[in-house]
Symmetry: C2
Subunit: 121 residues, 2 copies
């Protein structure tokens, strides 16, 4: 289990990378065999390549800005509320839950949101 400070840095890196980089860079933050569910209740994706494809499809070439709002770290896991603005058109506030390996790579992610949480800008 990684320490709280390691987990905080990993979450901050994830949120910052959402905001300024593309799918391949985001996927690099995940462990090779990571498990990924976004949104919870949807398909469960496994592995870095499936995760890269998800972000490529979700974000494409749109501008993205991101902001970490509330982060809680507990027992080597993280739960955090963050805000995404995509393409200058929509905003969504999401609560993510993540686990990490000892190197700080994300081993699992669950994203809690539903279509009604999408706000048009």
């Amino acid at each position: 289990v990684p320490g709280n400070e390691e987990v905080k840095r990993a979450v901050e890196r994830y949120v910052a990378t959402l905001g300024d980089d593309r799918a391949a860079s985001i996927a690099e933050l995940f462990a090779e065999d990571a498990v990924f569910e976004d949104p919870v209740g949807g398909d469960v994706r496994r592995g870095r390549e499936a995760i890269r494809a998800f972000y490529e499809s979700a974000l494409g070439n749109q501008s993205v800005s991101s902001e970490l709002i509330t982060l809680r770290v507990s027992g080597g896991e993280a739960a955090f509320h963050f805000r995404l603005e995509v393409g200058g058109r929509i905003r969504i506030d999401i609560i993510d839950v993540m686990r990490f390996d000892d190197a700080g790579a994300i081993t699992s992610m669950k994203a809690y949101w539903s279509p009604e949480d999408i706000v048009a800008l």
Copy 2:
């Protein structure tokens, strides 16, 4: 899997019950065989009686006020940020993740917080 509205009502009931009622009433919101981890990384408790004992120990006869701040519902699960004030002495913001049965009873809860999140009032 319960619907989003059912899950929202169940979370609102939980947060309201934290604020105005005692351990037995809170425990009634959980399924008989619920799994409970508060904080994540601590002991995993199983069953309504163990959950009742947890709240009895954590809250006792202290005054408690609670406020739901951000709720996300996805795939029949909930993740939410809420604020507790206990005994007029401390405040803590927690992110909880819950699952539910079809009747809206809580079947699992994981609470994300660490001692550094406790604020003296």
